[in-house]
């Protein structure tokens, strides 16, 4: 399980997501970390050791896309899978066009998550 040693970070202000998603990721064989905000992620995470980022779009403070910008500014190329509770097709297209590996609309299935992470890791 840990042989793949792929580290996935989850940044979401919703507690239930931070609670449930890392568990599933671990079941899927990833190493998972959870952060409640973009600011917390930037401050606490070992940015260099993260292979993929699952990022909520709408958050208090810095938003998901803003965090993505910030990482680019720091020349960190961590592939991003956006998740959102009320995205639409237009938003999804825009985020993909701006370099997101995938964009999942909540609720998403295990399979969709797996495919998105696969794409993200290929991306990276």
């Amino acid at each position: 399980m840990t042989s793949r040693a792929v580290v996935v970070a989850v940044v979401d202000d919703d507690e239930s997501v931070r609670e449930s998603l890392p568990d599933l990721l671990r079941e899927l064989g990833y190493a998972a970390q959870a952060y409640a905000s973009a600011e917390e992620f930037l401050a606490a995470a070992d940015l260099g050791a993260i292979h993929a980022l699952i990022l909520d779009i709408a958050m208090p403070g810095m938003s998901g896309p803003e965090l993505q910008q910030e990482l680019r500014r720091r020349r960190l190329t961590i592939p991003v899978v956006f998740i959102t509770a009320n995205g639409d097709a237009a938003l999804k297209r825009r985020l993909l066009a701006e370099g997101a590996a995938a964009c999942l609309i909540k609720p998403f299935s295990e399979t969709a998550l797996q495919l998105a992470l696969d794409a993200a890791l290929r991306h990276g």
Binding site: D13, D14, S16, V17, E19, S20, L21, D23, L24, E27, L28, A58, M59, P60, G61, S63, I83, A85, N86, I105, K106, P107, F108, S109, E110
Partner: protein, 585 residues
């Protein structure tokens, strides 16, 4: 023959003849009197009588007292004979005449000499007056004089009676004239009043576009007011028939007309109905007709009624109805649109947890060995998230499952908390900080909870939109509940946005006015309607610092008479229930 007569007797005979001739002449003069006074007043008659008597007879004094028959003061006139003129003061004569003339002594001492007096009643018992004559010669009056005076008195009595009659006739005639004049004036005034009433009526009919009619059923005779002719666009000069009316009535309404006519002819009861006219230019008029039955004096059935042109009212009602349903529809759509994001977020968030936890749980159970403890934990989380989703759906159902407008006790704090909970996601997404300050002592108000929540949601959304452009300071929205000086319950939403353009404030509450490119401008207008429906008021005011405050106040016991007002002239609307309070929280 005369030769044979003795000279003395002859002289006496000559004297006698002369006397008789004189007497006859005097009699003729006296008998001519009525011709002189005919048709004249009693006074004139009295004077003429005295003048003639003094001229004819050797009288020293002549006087009459005339009674007017109506209990008035008697008229007294006196003549002094030519020989005594200046010697006898007429006042003394008048004094002598006072009392009862018929009981005068035959002779009375006057200025040292005796005056012989003779009274004559005018009328059988002096009911018209008295004539008194006097002379200073013993034996006055002699037989001839008495005869002449009697005839004169008799003539005078007749004349005076005639004069009195004439006077009475004249009086009656003039009274009659006065009465006729008075009645004529009254009639003229009444006519003027009637003419004015008719003018008022005609004016009123024109103003209210109401015409009136009378319809005699038996003869088919129809009388119309001018306004009714105008309404039907008929020639005023021609009498109207039922056939004429039928030619104007909208073909679809003809059965209605016939039904009404049949009923009216049979029942003699009032009727009221609405029908349309199809005018020659194909335009349609809506008429409202009310009539009541009455019996004329000869027992004939007659209908008196009024017809009002309600075309404008119908059109307005139709337009209003269309507008209202459009408004309601748009309000629903905008509310739905506004909520779609919140719903998505609020429901999808727990759903996401459910799916993720369920997947995890399955995986843990399928592992070898199964991670039962982990599976139980994630299953528990699944249930918790499902409950959370269910709560959200319950709240949404309450918001959308609209019954008719209800009036129930509403805890404004609780209602606001729910709205805040529903808006939380939107706030987060817009990185808006919402501070809610609830006055926990707030009493419940009577109202429609869901409607009030729609207003709050609208105000919060506007506030979020207002602060969305802020980059240099906190995007702060403050929701407050509390009471004002008048005891009204109030809720305000204060934002720190760019504030209000003073020019736009009056238009804020107009339907379809929007400062937002994406908005439909329906929210504030509908919100105000809702708050007014609760007897309260909704207003907007700029803040002293940044931004604007939108607030509403609702009375605890709403007066039913909610005054209508519009945001005009930039002034804050005032309404009976919350007139004295400051617009700022």
């Amino acid at each position: 023959m005369s030769e044979s007569r003795p000279p003395v007797a002859e002289d006496r005979a000559v004297d006698e003849v002369g006397r008789l001739q004189r007497c006859l002449r005097d009699l003729l003069s006296i008998l001519a009197l009525p011709a002189m006074w005919s048709g004249r007043e009693a006074t004139h008659l009295g004077h003429t009588l005295l003048d003639v008597l003094v001229a004819l007879l050797p009288l020293d004094v002549a006087a009459v007292r005339l009674v007017d028959g109506e209990g008035g003061e008697p008229l007294e006139m006196v003549r002094i004979g030519a020989a005594q003129r200046g010697a006898i003061p007429s006042e003394q004569i008048t004094m002598m005449l006072g009392g009862e003339p018929m009981e005068l002594p035959a002779a009375a001492p006057l200025e040292g000499m005796e005056l012989f007096l003779a009274p004559f009643p005018l009328g059988l018992h002096g009911e018209v007056g008295h004539l008194v004559v006097g002379a200073r010669r013993p034996g006055f009056p002699d037989a001839d004089e008495r005869l002449l005076l009697n005839v004169a008195a008799n003539q005078a009595a007749i004349g005076l009676r005639e004069a009195r009659l004439l006077h009475e006739q004249r009086r009656v005639a003039s009274e009659l004239d006065a009465r006729v004049a008075r009645r004529t004036a009254e009639l003229a005034a009444a006519n003027e009043e009637l003419r004015r009433s008719e003018a008022f009526l005609a004016e009123g009919q024109q103003l209210t576009t109401t015409g009136s009619f009378a319809w005699r059923v038996a003869t088919g005779e129809i009388t119309w007011s001018d306004q009714l002719y105008r309404m039907f666009e008929f020639d005023r000069s021609k009498p109207v028939t039922l056939t004429d009316i039928g030619s104007r009535v909208h073909p679809d309404d003809l059965p209605l007309l016939y039904h009404m006519l049949t009923r009216a002819e049979a029942e003699a009861s009032g009727f009221e109905y609405e029908h349309r006219l199809l005018m020659p230019d194909q335009s349609v008029k809506h008429l409202h007709l009310v009539a009541h039955a009455r019996r004329t004096r000869d027992g004939a059935l007659e209908y008196i009624g009024a017809v009002q042109d309600v075309t404008e009212r119908r059109r307005s009602e139709e337009a209003l109805g269309r507008l209202q349903s459009e408004l309601a529809h748009m309000a629903r759509i905008t509310s739905l649109g506004a909520l779609t994001a919140s719903i998505a977020h609020e429901v999808n968030q727990p759903l996401s947890g459910i799916v993720t936890n369920a997947s995890t749980s399955l995986r843990m159970l399928a592992a070898d060995p199964p991670n039962v403890e982990g599976a139980l934990e994630t299953a528990r989380r699944t249930i918790r998230d499902a409950k959370r989703a269910s709560d959200v759906i319950t709240r949404l159902r309450a918001l959308f499952n609209r019954k008719a407008v209800t009036s129930e006790p509403v805890d404004l704090n609780e209602a606001a908390r729910e709205v805040v909970a529903l808006s939380a996601a939107e706030m987060q997404r817009g990185r808006v900080t919402l501070r809610a300050e609830y006055d926990e002592t707030l009493p419940a108000i009577l109202g429609d909870r869901v409607q009030l929540q729609q207003v709050m949601l609208n105000l919060l959304r506007n506030a979020v939109d207002a602060v969305s452009g802020i980059e240099d300071r906190t995007r702060l929205v403050v929701l407050r509940t509390g009471r004002d000086e008048a005891g009204n319950v109030r809720l305000s939403v204060e934002d720190s946005g760019p504030g209000l353009d003073p020019d736009s404030v009056p238009r804020l509450f107009e339907a379809f006015y929007s400062t937002k490119t994406g908005g439909m401008g329906i929210g504030l207008s509908v919100s105000r309607t809702i708050i007014e429906g609760h007897g309260g008021r909704l207003w907007a005011a700029p803040n002293e610092g940044h931004g604007a405050t939108f607030a509403f106040a609702i009375p605890l016991h709403p007066a039913r008479a909610v005054s209508k007002y519009r945001g005009d002239g930039g002034s804050l609307p005032t309404v009976n229930t919350a007139a004295t309070q400051e617009p700022r929280p």
